[in-house]
Amino acid sequence: MMNDYILKTNGLTKKFKNHHAVDKVDLSIRKGDIYGFIGQNGAGKSTMLRLVTGLSFPTEGSLEIFGTDARTGLNDAQKRMGAIIESPALFSEMTSRENLEVHRRQKGIPGRECIDETLRLVGLSGTGEKKAKNFSLGMKQRLGLAMALLSDPEFLILDEPTNGLDPIGIVEFRDLIRKLNREKGLTVLISSHILGELYQLATTYGIIHEGKLIEELSLKELDEKCRRHLKIEVDDVTKGATVLESVLGITDFEVMPDKTINLYQHLDDVRMVSRALTDNGLIIEHFARAGDSLESYFSKLVGGGRHD
């Protein structure tokens, strides 16, 4: 259903002279998703987020936010969103409270209670009269997050949000996002090139490379792709599955849509598995180890080892 989607882009393109920063991206984020947007530096992540938030305008294509075309409904959508793009945008001469007060007035949020609540939520209640220019990078990130959360948004967009956070800060950030997602149904689009961090948080992934969305997959699908296994291709997949089950007593395997078998047991007992298959009259057409870490999977997908 269309209304299940918080964000949907159709052929979204952003061109700078002859360079496509974002190239015909079709991306979908469902309500309640924590969408991890993965890409190398310069892959087009921030440009994409700037298009979604209305800071920049697409050259071609369109986007729907909360089921409404952004060309007509962006302002209304923005009121239901919170975002940090590239870096937290703060008034350096103001305190955390004053920064939030400006934002509260801009958004027209009634009552000042939300300021204290949000500061408490991100762990910045004790900053007092300290000006933002004297904050550490981590504190600035927290204040940026507080500004994004101030209006109690339904959709949160975060661009590299853990930059500058210490390990404890990263864990706290992750817990906070999970909590908001679980308790308030907050939908989150979070970009990062730190894959380990995204892996622990996101429920859906989009991988962007050179401006193109090259893969979109759920956590389950990613786990399956990344899980170490033996990939087996035999001439009769049904018989192959029966052999694994009845002869070897294996239950942890899957028959994939491409008629291959992913075997998650006996990874160190390759000879035994292949012998059992051939002894039962099967012809093995392909037999290999597969599965990787998210980093390796991403590397393979984007061509490996290339960095901007």
């Binding site: 209305g54 923005q78 001469e93 958004k107 027209g108 500004m147």
Partner: protein
């Protein structure tokens, strides 16, 4: 829009450059008024002399675009342009869900209020206070008070046209240094056009611009036609430049 105006007012109140320029304006105008009133600095031939307000001659300085621009050009640089700079706080405003034209207009209104306070009301009020302190308030009478009101109302109208131009410049350059430099160059250019022989078309445009009106509205006497012209030039300038600003800002890619 009210919320945006409240936010801009809050930002102006917290802006260090604003308070610094305000203090400079107050200090400078107090000093100039004092020096003129005690006769240390002689100044004559001003429009104020002609209406018997020679004691307020120091105000003449504050009516010159090249002078007041130094204050309000700097304010634009540190109140508007910096929002587009490294901190990028303009992003928060775009993300607030307000129409870009509303954001632009609220910036223009609050910047203009701040500029009027710094460049018009502070010099005027310090002048009146100095008159009172030096016991010269009697130079004010019904006639020159009416002149004062008429002149300042029409001047503020042209001034608001000028702040519209500087707001546009500040949004266009996105850089505080460039805003100051270009605004200074701009006022110098207007000064050159005023003093030097130029192409006919430029002269015609200048004659119907706020820059010519800055000279005309301080005249001791103005006919009804001249006043109507001043109002039309001021209002048309504000409307055209603010609309151009809204269009420019509306199409701007925010970094």
């Amino acid at each position: 829009m009210t919320n945006l105006l409240k936010a801009e007012m809050f930002k102006l109140g917290k802006n260090r450059a604003f308070w610094m320029i305000l203090a400079i304006s107050a200090g400078l105008s107090t000093l100039m008024h004092y020096l003129i009133m005690v006769g240390w600095w002689m100044m004559d031939g001003t429009p104020f002399d002609a209406v018997g307000l020679g004691g307020m001659n120091a105000l003449s300085m504050f009516l010159v675009p090249a002078f007041f621009n130094l204050m309000i050009g700097t304010l634009a640089a540190f109140f508007i342009s910096t929002e587009f700079g490294a901190g990028g706080v303009i992003r928060n405003q775009i993300l607030s869900g307000r129409h870009r034209s509303q954001i632009y207009v609220s910036k223009y209104i609050v910047y203009t209020l701040g500029s009027v306070l710094i460049g018009v009301l502070i010099p005027l009020s310090t002048g009146l206070i100095m008159l009172a302190v030096t016991g010269k308030l009697e130079i004010l009478d019904g006639g020159n008070i009416m002149y004062f009101i008429r002149m300042h109302l029409l001047f503020i109208l042209q001034y608001a046209g000028y702040t519209a131009l500087i707001t546009l410049l500040a949004v266009f350059t996105e850089d505080s240094g460039k805003t100051i430099i270009f605004s200074v160059l701009f006022t110098l250019l207007m000064f050159v056009i005023e003093k030097m022989p130029v192409f006919n078309i430029v002269e015609i445009i200048y004659d119907y611009s706020i820059f010519q009106q800055f000279n005309l509205v301080v005249a001791p006497r103005m006919s009804a036609v001249m006043m109507a012209e001043a109002v039309i030039v001021g209002v048309v300038t504000i409307v055209v430049v603010v609309v151009a600003g809204c269009v420019t800002f509306g199409r701007k890619e925010i970094k």
